[in-house]
């Protein structure tokens, strides 16, 4: 029993068939994580007791494994009568877990904007709202674009965790083939290579984006 290339190739269409699921789970989770992370950072800036609490929540999330969060949500929510599909729970878990990291991305992205920018906006008598929309937000977006892209890759690589909740993404499909044929190596290698290729291609794109944004910033 070695590596059966023909069998490996025959498993490609089935596994690749779930690539849409994998990418949309990653995209929705990334948006969810960014939304929660942004909220965390904004509330943290309020300071005081609320700010400290949010800082602690972020630290707690960052000190605990994704797998434990997935189990927590999957088994605890039904205990309180909240019945959600495994896909929803999976996306919630990924969003929550990565929100702790994205809060730091937003923090760095906002802190990196020189204070002179908002002062200049005020000197030009822009309203607070206009200053945020036309001066602060565009610069923040430029600062966070590359780290956000890198976290999208991290989230993408974490989507196979959802196979433990039986979400039909690519690793789940690979295990389906494995349990039908009793051959684990080939489908798992195929799934692994597809993820590796996706991660490398998207990382490369993020790097190019980063270089362009740096060039724009330096002008």
């Amino acid at each position: 029993m070695g590596f059966d290339l023909a069998f490996a190739l025959s498993s490609v269409p089935t596994i690749l068939g779930a690539i849409g699921m994998t990418l949309s789970v990653a995209l929705v989770s990334c948006i969810g994580a960014a939304a929660i992370g942004f909220l965390f950072d904004v509330v943290r800036r309020v300071g005081g007791f609320v700010g400290l609490t949010i800082s602690f929540v972020i630290d707690f999330i960052r000190s605990t494994p994704l797998l434990a969060w997935l189990y927590f949500l999957y088994f605890v929510l039904p205990f309180y009568g909240i019945r959600l599909g495994s896909l929803t729970v999976g996306v919630m878990g990924l969003s929550l877990y990565y929100s702790g990291y994205l809060a730091e991305v937003f923090k760095a992205g906002i802190d990196a904007i020189p204070k002179g920018q908002s002062e200049a906006a005020r000197a030009l008598s822009l309203s607070r709202r206009d200053a945020v929309i036309y001066v602060i937000a565009p610069q923040m977006l430029r600062n966070i674009a590359a780290p956000l892209g890198n976290y999208f890759v991290s989230i993408l690589k974490a989507t196979p965790y959802l196979a433990v909740l039986a979400v039909p993404e690519m690793l789940g499909r690979a295990f389906d083939i494995a349990s039908e044929t009793y051959r684990y190596t080939e489908p798992l290698v195929v799934a692994g290579l597809i993820f590796l290729a996706l991660a490398l291609v998207i990382s490369h794109g993020v790097k190019r984006l980063e270089r362009r944004l740096l060039a724009v910033g330096a002008r």
Binding site: A68, V76, L171, L188, G192
Partner: protein
Amino acid sequence: MPMSLFEIWLGILQGLGTTLAVTAYGLVFAVPFALVFGVAQYLTRGVARLLVTGVIEFWRSSAVIILLFVFYYALPVVGVTLSALTVSAMVLGLNAGGYASQAVRAGLQALPAGQKEAGAALGLSRPAILLLIELPQALIAMSPTFVNTLIQLLKATALVSLVTLTDMTFRAKEIAQVEYNPVAIYTALLLAFFVVCYPIALAGRWLEARVAAPGSRSSGI
């Protein structure tokens, strides 16, 4: 009779030994990999650098959960039988090592060229410059990043519960089979990881503050 909260907590902590063992054993793979491949990526050019980068990217850019399953199921097929502990430590360790190697390389690249040139002016050989001048500075500067990678490794060990090792996550699942109290069990699991990882994160922050200081002092002089 239902288990008390204390018994659940103790039950999960029975897996702490395995969690820590996989982490420590993983470091045995991660540290040499990060040093050797980080330095190699820094020093090599052309084809050699492509090969080094290829190995690093394989371990760093793959989805670690799939790597773990691939090696767990595929190694016996090609005639290599390793224990689940060794396979887990190797996969998780080399994945963490891949991340850390980038910190090693970036730390070396960030040093001013004058450091290397000063070493050469003093008549030191290239290996001596690397070992005595470049690496110590790079490793100290990047130490907060290494602490973060250690925390990532510790958290990733939760995956070993999927390949039959009885770590804290495995214990939580076991307890959940005999005891219907998911709130207590999974809260305890999260808390157990928090108790282990948070002090390390705090130590990393302390280190970060310390590491930032000498650099600013030297530039002041």
